[in-house]
Amino acid sequence: MLFLIIKRILLGFITLFIVSIITFVGTEVLPGDACTTYLERQAFGEQLEACYRRLGLNVPAYERYVSWAFNAIQGDFGYSLSGEMPIKEVLGPRIKNSLVLASAAIFIGIPIALILGIITALWRDKLPDVAISTVTIFAMTIPEFISATLLILIIAIWLEWLPGIVIVPTDVSFLELLPNIILPVVAIAMIMTAHMARMVRSSVIQVMASEYVQMAILKGVPYWKMVFKHVLPNALLPAINVVALTIAWLLGGVVVTEVVFNYPGLGRLVIESISNRDLPTVQALAIILASIYVSINLLADLLTLMLNPRLKTLQIRK
């Protein structure tokens, strides 16, 4: 058990290590470096030399990688190209804002997804299932920027209930942020909920068809008791992993949604730094987003391991 956990954590670190190499090599081998793209036409002679020295680009690539990785582990990502600010300071408030957005969406989304998933599974192919499933298919297939744009058009422009875009400074207090983030949270939660509800649905359906549930029905266990005692615990366990993967996958959607709502989070920083060709920031963002992805998956794996007694004994036998 312990061995398995340590192995999973190590694998996570290996993945991050490979990601860091990929992004480093990616930004390295592609045409132009940070200085030539930043200085554009003035990229020659003295100025180029000075820029190389300032960014430390005059040493070989592998040495830069080692020192960059060493600093990155300590949370120091160097200086951003455009703002002349330490990336750490740029990232701080952005991460906080994105976390607020994502966690609000997750906390609203998970309970709704559970309820919808269970309802659709228990009333499979009946009216509630058909109605809810149709809506979830629409919600999960339509791109984030379309649902976000429609939300703004209907709720902010036609009904004038909420502000359509977020116009607040990056470092704003939570209460000031609240009315501004309702629409972005709804936009993200909608897609997330739809994805999760469908997975819960199929997981519950699978368990309902299993032999021990059939046995419980034959034994005369009351329906709701059977659902809560026999079906749900077994159905929700495998769903955890899939839900984690979905949340991680939706990070990309958060980027787009933040742009649509002009929300000062990590996602908009991704677009800004790529438009400005701010490669040090891009590298830092890649590593941070990948770590979020890896840790969500790791968390889900550990949770499944801890909640599933079968897996424990399996590992001991091995």
Partner: protein, 297 residues
């Protein structure tokens, strides 16, 4: 002689199998809807240049932001261009790029996955680690990086999308190969003395093909989503080209007075994505593959 007959029958039946699959797909209401939307969009993509009522890039300041009328069915945009013309042309770019992108994804993802499943061991471990690492970079960041450094021409977009959406197929193809390789008929083929190539071509590929094709069909709809998100963010195809993502992002700022310019491309893009999705779903069900418990990685 007898062997020849068997092969002929098999070929005939594979053709019959295809039409059977399509009939099964169309027999469910969701599959029928999906197929008809997809077919409609494909036909539209072929004929739209000939039926477009106006020039898609004709700018006319006097016609700015006109409401829908008999002359301009879906109104005009901020540069006085006909929204109807641009909407029916918008599917061409998206369909072409994502179709060829999916083909590339299927090819390299499928082949690498089958290869990994076959060789196993250290090589398999290393390749899967790298694939996992690529999977953990958010697609949007990776795509933006490639596109912003290499440009947004079609020659860059198609392989970039193909590469990025193929890595998920690697896993599916590998898992399917793993399942097949332990089966008895592989062992007996080996015992009969068939070459490795013959075993891969005649035994393994026919058995993993379905899983890979279904995954590829699903990737197609995600790739369309990714591609239009890129266009929306201004990193996709460049402006004069009629493209839905681009049209939505242009018309978005003015949608408080000219909602038609944003609604038309939204309907176009949403219906195509839903059409591909429903078709892929029906395709999976017709082949008896359940992918509803899979995460969209």
């Amino acid at each position: 002689m007898k062997l020849d007959n068997i092969y002929k029958e098999e070929k005939k039946s594979s053709f019959a199998k295809l039409s059977e699959i399509i009939i099964t797909m169309a027999s469910r209401p969701s599959g029928l809807i999906g197929l008809s939307i997809l077919v409609f969009h494909i036909i539209l993509a072929f004929i739209s240049p000939y039926i477009a009522p106006h020039d898609f890039k004709a700018i006319d300041p006097t016609l700015m932001l006109q409401a829908p009328s008999a002359e301009y069915w879906f109104g005009t945009d901020d540069l006085g261009r006909d929204v109807f013309t641009r909407t029916i042309l918008g599917g061409r770019t998206a369909l072409t790029i994502t179709f060829f992108g999916s083909l590339i994804a299927l090819l390299w993802g499928g082949l690498l996955g089958i290869f990994c499943g076959l060789v196993g061991g250290k090589i398999d471990d290393v390749v899967m680690r790298i694939v996992d690492a690529f999977l953990s970079i958010p697609w949007i960041l990776a795509m933006l990086l490639i596109v912003s450094l290499l440009g947004t021409s079609t020659e860059v977009l198609i392989p970039a999308l193909g590469f990025f959406y193929g890595k998920g197929i690697v896993r599916v193809a590998r898992a399917a190969t793993h399942d097949v390789i332990a089966k008895d008929f592989i062992v007996s083929a080996r015992a009969r003395g068939h070459s490795d190539f013959s075993i891969i071509w005649n035994e393994i590929i026919p058995n993993v093909r379905d899983a890979i094709l279904v995954e590829g069909a699903m990737r197609w709809s995600w790739m369309l989503l990714g591609f239009s998100s890129l266009s929306f963010l201004g990193f996709g195809v460049s402006p004069p080209t009629p493209d839905w993502g681009l049209m939505i992002s242009n018309a978005r700022g003015l949608m408080s007075f000219a909602y038609w310019a944003v609604i038309a491309p939204i309907v176009g893009l949403s219906s195509l994505i839903i059409g591909i999705n429903l078709t892929a779903d029906a395709f999976a069900k017709a082949l008896g593959i359940d992918r509803s418990t899979k995460a969209p990685v």
